[in-house]
C-alpha cells in the first residue's frame, strides 16, 4: 500500500435483515483507478457511503494515511483527504460556478469562521477555486449560475468542488451517468488526468469507460465481492461473465 492509499478490509453493512455490503475488502492507491462494478442493488453506492463516512459500517476497518478512520465522521474524513461525489448531482444551484468551488475551498481554511470580512476579500480562496475549475475545464464558466449549466458541466463542477478540498482519494459514484457521447469522452479524459495524482474509486455502469480507465476492478453482486483483479482477469472470468457482463461478452468470446 502506498503512503496515501486507503485500505478497507472486511467491510459490512446490514440494514435490518438486508446485508447491503458483505465482507468487502479493497485497496486504493494514488495514481490508479479502481473500478467497482456490479448490477443495480449490488451495494456499490453503500460501499462508497461506508468509505466516505456517510454511513457507519456494521463491521470492518478502514485505514487511510496511517489513521484508522472507521469511527470518523464524513466531514472529518473529508478534511483528512477523502473527497467524493454523489450519484445525484450535488452542487449549490443558486451559487455561481466559482462560488461553489470557493465554498468548497473554504473548508480547508481556518478563516471560514471569520464573520466580518467578505468571502471576496480572500485571494487565496479565489485562486484555489479557479485552479479546481481549470482542472476540470470549467474556468470559462466561472461566473455562470451553477443551476444553468448543462448536465455534463454540472458533473464536472461537482468533481471540481471535491478537488477544491485537495483530496488524495476521490470516490466517484457514476460520474458518467446521463452524459452524451462527447461529454463521456471528455469525462474519461478528465478522470485519466485526475488518476495521476489521486487514488480514484470509480463506480460506473459504462463498461467502455471502466475498461479504458481501471487498473483494478472489483465486481460486486448482492453485496459480496464476486471477483477482484486486473481488467483482463475480470474479463476472462466465467463467473463474472455469467453474473454481470452478460451474454454480450460471452458471445464476443
Amino acid at each position: 500500500m502506498s503512503e496515501h492509499g486507503l485500505r478497507a478490509s472486511g467491510l459490512s453493512k446490514v440494514f435490518g435483515g438486508l446485508t447491503a455490503v458483505d465482507n468487502v475488502s479493497l485497496e486504493l492507491n494514488v495514481g490508479a483507478v479502481h473500478a467497482v462494478i456490479g448490477p443495480n442493488g449490488a451495494g456499490k453506492t453503500t460501499l462508497i457511503n461506508l468509505l466516505s463516512g456517510d454511513l457507519p459500517p456494521t463491521a470492518g476497518s478502514i485505514h487511510f494515511n496511517g489513521h484508522d478512520i472507521v469511527g470518523y465522521s464524513s466531514d472529518r474524513r473529508s478534511r483528512l483527504g477523502i473527497g467524493r461525489t454523489y450519484q445525484k448531482i450535488n452542487i449549490f444551484p443558486s451559487f455561481t460556478v466559482l462560488e461553489n468551488c470557493r465554498l468548497a475551498a473554504q473548508s480547508r481554511k481556518s478563516h471560514a469562521v471569520n464573520v466580518f470580512r467578505s468571502v471576496r476579500s480572500y485571494p487565496s480562496l479565489k485562486q484555489e477555486a479557479e485552479q479546481a475549475l481549470a482542472a476540470v475545464g470549467l474556468e470559462h464558466r466561472a461566473r455562470v449560475i451553477a443551476g444553468t449549466l448543462s448536465h455534463g458541466e454540472q458533473r464536472q463542477l461537482d468533481i471540481a468542488m471535491s478537488l477544491a478540498t485537495r483530496p488524495r482519494v476521490l470516490l466517484l459514484d457514476e460520474p458518467l451517468s446521463g452524459m452524451g457521447a462527447e461529454e463521456s469522452t471528455n469525462m474519461v479524459t478528465l478522470l485519466r488526468k485526475l488518476a495521476k495524482d489521486h487514488a480514484v474509486l470509480l463506480v460506473e455502469h459504462d463498461m467502455d469507460a471502466v475498461f479504458a480507465l481501471a487498473e483494478a476492478l472489483t465486481v460486486m453482486v448482492n453485496g459480496r465481492v464476486l471477483a477482484s483483479g486486473k481488467p483482463d482477469e475480470i474479463r476472462g472470468n466465467p463467473d463474472v461473465q455469467r453474473a454481470y457482463l452478460g451474454t454480450a461478452e460471452v458471445r464476443r468470446g
Binding site: 456517510d54 466531514d75 469562521v113
Partner: protein
C-alpha cells in the same frame, strides 16, 4: 436590485424624520417597531441563512429584558456600559448551552426542542417569585448613557431613545449584511441547502449552526434589552412562544432570507396591527383585529410567497423588461 437599494435608503430617511413630526405617539411606536426589526433580523440569521426555524427565540428576548430589569437599582439609572455587555453575555452563554443540545436536531425536531426550551423558561419566570412571577417587574429608570460625566443622549427622552434605537438597528443591519457575505455566512447557506454535501466537503455542521444560534440569540438579547428599557416593564409573556411566532410572521410577511425583509416585515406587521385595531375606523370589530391580520397573512403568503420585499424585485424586473 438598484431600485431596491434606493427604496431602502429612502425608507431609512423617512424613518429618521419621524421625530420631526413632534408626535410622541409615533416616535414611540416607531421605536418599538425598530426594536422588533432587530429581533426579526436576528431570527432571520437562523431561519433565512441557516434554515433553522426557532420557536424559542423569544426566550432570549425575555431573558435580556429580565436581565436589565433585575440588574438595575430600583430608583436609579444603571449604566448602559456595563449592563448591556452583562445582559448580552448572559444571553450568549444561555444560547451556547441550549444550542449545544438543539443544533444537533433539525427540521421539525429543531422547532419542537426550541419551543420546549422557550416554554420551560417561560414557566420558570411565571411560576417563581424571582422575577415577580406572572406579574413581572418594573424597570423604573432607563439605563444611563454617560461617558466620563458627559451624557450625549438622555434615554428618558423619547426622541433620544428613538435615535439611539435607530442607530443600533442600522448597526445590526450592517453587521448582519456583512455576515451574510462572509465565509461563515456562505457556509450557513450551504448547510441550509445541502448539509450532506457540505459534510462531504469537510464542513462539520454543529459548530457553524451553534455559532449562528449564539449570534442570533445575542442580537435578540440586544432587542430585548432595548424593549425593556422602552416599556419599563417585563413579564413572562415576553418569553412565550406566541412572541416568537409573531416575529416569525413578521419575517414571513416581509420576506425570509433577505435582511431588509425582516425590517419591512416588522414595520408592516405593527402598522397593520395598529390599523386593524383602530376603534376609530372599525368600531366594535377592532378588538378582533387578529382575524383581519390572519386573513392578510394568508393572502400575503399565497400572493407573495417571498414576502412584501419581493414586490420590489418584480418592479425591477418590469423595469428591466421595459428597457
Amino acid at each position: 436590485m438598484k431600485v431596491g437599494r434606493y427604496i431602502l435608503v429612502l425608507g431609512a430617511l423617512c424613518v429618521a424624520l419621524v421625530p420631526l413630526t413632534g408626535a410622541t405617539f409615533y416616535v414611540q411606536l416607531v421605536s418599538k417597531i425598530m426594536i422588533l426589526a432587530i429581533f426579526a433580523m436576528s431570527l432571520d440569521l437562523l431561519i433565512g441563512s441557516a434554515g433553522l426555524v426557532s420557536l424559542g427565540h423569544a426566550a432570549f428576548f425575555g431573558v435580556a429584558g429580565y436581565g436589565i430589569a433585575l440588574l438595575s437599582p430600583k430608583y436609579q439609572a444603571a449604566s448602559f456600559w456595563w449592563t448591556l455587555p452583562v445582559v448580552l453575555i448572559i444571553c450568549a452563554t444561555l444560547a451556547l448551552i441550549v444550542g449545544l443540545l438543539v443544533v444537533r436536531t433539525s427540521g421539525v425536531y429543531f422547532i419542537m426542542v426550541t419551543l420546549a426550551f422557550g416554554q420551560m423558561l417561560y414557566y420558570l419566570f411565571h411560576d417563581t417569585k424571582f422575577g415577580g412571577g406572572s406579574d413581572g417587574i418594573y424597570l423604573y429608570v432607563r439605563p444611563e448613557l454617560s461617558i466620563a460625566g458627559w451624557r450625549p443622549l438622555n434615554l428618558e427622552k423619547p426622541t433620544h431613545f428613538f435615535y439611539f434605537v435607530f442607530a443600533i438597528m442600522l448597526g445590526v443591519y450592517f453587521l448582519l449584511s456583512r455576515i451574510r457575505v462572509s465565509p461563515f455566512g456562505h457556509v450557513l447557506v450551504g448547510l441550509k441547502a445541502n448539509e450532506q454535501r457540505m459534510r462531504s466537503l469537510g464542513f462539520p455542521p454543529t459548530p457553524y449552526k451553534l455559532g449562528a444560534f449564539v449570534l442570533a440569540a445575542t442580537l435578540t438579547g440586544l432587542a430585548g434589552y432595548l424593549s425593556a428599557c422602552q416599556f419599563g416593564f417585563v413579564n413572562p409573556e415576553l418569553l412565550s412562544w406566541h412572541y416568537s411566532a409573531t416575529v416569525l410572521m413578521m419575517l414571513i410577511l416581509g420576506g425570509v432570507a433577505r435582511l431588509h425583509g425582516a425590517v419591512v416585515g416588522a414595520f408592516a406587521y405593527v402598522l397593520l396591527q395598529e390599523l386593524l385595531a383602530s376603534q376609530a375606523i372599525w368600531g366594535g370589530i377592532a378588538k378582533h383585529w387578529q382575524l383581519g391580520m390572519g386573513v392578510l397573512i394568508v393572502l400575503s403568503v399565497l400572493l407573495l410567497p417571498n414576502g412584501l420585499t419581493s414586490l420590489v424585485d418584480r418592479l425591477s424586473w418590469l423595469h428591466f423588461k421595459a428597457n
